[in-house]
């Protein structure tokens, strides 16, 4: 006859096995899904990525030629968005984490940021169209698109930066103060370097969203195929280009090529940003 303890052991062992099987199955399923998407797009897209595809502007609505102007447009819009959202977002995060106690103002900021994070991007696009394009008369332009995307990624940057700042051990702040540092010196010499990794992760995430965004930019930057000549030029980002090519059945070949290119660029941005941060951290270690 089995003792109750032995019985419990066999059941918990069985549970353990089931749990492991479920967890592995979930992980493998997700991995397989992601890999099949990536493989599908690269398989269909890579053959079209040639030197001409990268360097020529689109002709015949994108049926022929390359995507060079959309690459430039994508980069410019992303740079504008990050250049505006990063300082504002990090500044807000430091304000929330270091310069104020929990009060009604911080609650409003946090509530607004969280609400903004959940809004569909088409709503940002509509707002950007009404406010930047029409009211401020910036027209369909890289500037309007970049400003709209800046608003869209701001909540992400604020939240990831604030979390990174709060994760810095209190002792670093204490040591810094005990050495006679001011608050500003403490934040920039003791807190910021340690929070850097998290802030950069949030930034990479935001860059990815900018590069991949369609709805918000199509309404604010337009869909011009010309090579942009200034920040007030209208432009078409790669994601918008892909959308139009596929949606209007212009060229599935070039649509796949563009999609593969977007993936590769986001991948490269990740690698480059991580390398820079690792080098910076290695230097300071």
């Amino acid at each position: 006859m089995e003792t109750p303890i032995k019985k419990m052991n066999t059941t918990s062992k069985a549970n353990e096995r089931i749990a492991i099987a479920v967890i592995w199955a979930a992980a493998i399923f997700v991995l397989a899904l992601l890999v099949s998407i990536i493989v599908h797009i690269l398989f269909n897209g890579l053959p079209y990525i040639t030197w001409e595809f990268l360097t020529q502007i689109p002709r015949n609505m994108g049926r022929d030629g390359g995507v060079s102007s959309t690459i430039v447009g994508t980069f410019l819009i992303t740079i504008v968005a990050i250049a505006i959202a990063l300082p504002m977002g990090i500044g807000t995060a430091f304000y929330l984490a270091e310069y104020t106690r929990e009060n009604i103002v911080t609650k409003i900021i946090r509530f607004s940021a969280e609400s903004l994070a959940g809004i569909p991007s088409i709503v940002y696009g509509l707002f950007g169209f009404i406010f930047f394009v029409i009211s401020l008369d910036l027209g369909w332009s890289i500037l309007s698109g970049g400003l709209t995307l800046a608003l869209m990624i701001l909540p992400t940057i604020i939240r990831t930066s604030e979390e990174a700042i709060r994760a810095v051990p209190v002792v670093f702040r204490e040591v810094s103060y005990s050495l006679g540092a001011t608050k500003f010196q403490t934040i920039f010499k003791a807190v910021f370097p340690s929070a850097m990794r998290g802030i950069v992760n949030g930034t990479i995430l935001s860059i990815g969203r900018c590069v991949a965004e369609t709805a918000a930019v199509i309404l604010t930057a337009g869909s011009a195929l010309r090579m942009p000549s200034s920040l007030s030029s209208p432009t078409r980002t790669m994601a918008v280009h892909f959308y139009i090519l596929a949606r209007e059945g212009i060229s599935m070949e070039n649509a796949y090529g563009t999609a593969a290119l977007i993936m590769i660029i986001i991948f490269l941005i990740n690698i480059v940003a991580n390398t820079i941060v690792n080098r910076f951290i290695a230097k300071s270690r």
Partner: protein, 265 residues
């Protein structure tokens, strides 16, 4: 409270007069008065939660970092009223250095850990900074081991050496007073012995206050000893403050005797 032996001593470096510490409505320290002698080692002992660390942090105003903390009473560094509105707290903290419980080096090189303080106070030239690094490492007897690896990560040192580096970092801002908040409690016995030896050497130039749970340590290194306990209102108070030899051989208060003979705490 036996203060007689202290009154006769030479020179007062730090002075507390009827100090209360509140965290919000909670009274953490009640009516503490004490004089700390120049170039002495003073140990704060007492059971956990009696307010030793809070008392220590009153001297360099680290309690300022806690928004609800409030200090009443008078605290002096020489003639400087520490809690006066006109007192520059960053200047104060350059005069009163602090070493913490864990060896909390910054995740940078040994060299950068040492110059972070001096740089904040406007010392820019590499020659001056190199001098400071050598002087401070020499003072904590680390120069020989580290002079060739100054650019290595500080975190690659052993915990004991890291703690000595933290002491060197505190010395780099040329303080008069060094506060050590249980600075040996995370160290092994050999490293502890080295740090204790160092304290006694530093005593020539600095006034040192340590918080310790280790009564043998208090007995080994300190000249004066302050025994603290929680009073019936849950606030920490100074029970007895005297020469260490007197306290351990002939405590005047029954509570002190109970604590140091290990009857509670």
């Amino acid at each position: 409270m036996s203060n007689d032996s202290i009154q006769t001593a030479t020179e007062i470096k730090l002075k507390m007069n009827k100090v209360d510490l509140h965290y919000g409505a909670f009274k953490a320290l009640s009516n503490v008065s004490m004089d700390i002698q120049r170039n002495s080692i003073t140990a704060f002992i007492g059971p956990s939660g009696c307010g030793k660390s809070s008392l220590l942090r009153i001297f360099n105003r680290m309690n300022d970092l806690i928004p609800i903390a409030r200090v009443d009473g008078e605290v002096f560094l020489d003639d400087l009223s520490i809690y006066d509105k006109s007192t520059d707290v960053t200047y104060l903290r350059t005069k009163i250095g602090m070493v913490f419980q864990k060896p909390n080096v910054f995740p940078t090189s040994i060299y950068d850990n040492l110059v972070i303080g001096p740089k904040k106070h406007g010392i820019k030239h590499k020659i001056d900074l190199d001098d400071i690094v050598e002087r401070c490492l020499d003072q904590v007897a680390l120069w020989g081991e580290t002079k060739d690896i100054l650019q290595k990560p500080a975190q690659s040192l052993t915990p004991g050496d890291q703690q000595r580096l933290c002491i060197a970092r505190a010395l780099a801002i040329e303080p008069d007073v060094i506060l050590m908040d249980e600075s040996c409690s995370a160290l092994d016995p050999v490293s502890t012995a080295k740090v204790e030896e160092l304290m006694m050497e530093l005593q020539e130039k600095y006034t040192i206050i340590i918080v310790t749970h280790n009564m043998e340590q208090a007995l080994r290194v300190s000249d004066y000893c302050a025994f603290m306990m929680i009073n019936p209102e849950r606030a920490g108070e100074l029970v007895e403050y005297s020469l260490t030899v007197d306290m351990f051989s002939n405590p005047t208060d029954q509570r002190t005797e109970d604590y140091i003979t290990g009857r509670f705490g």
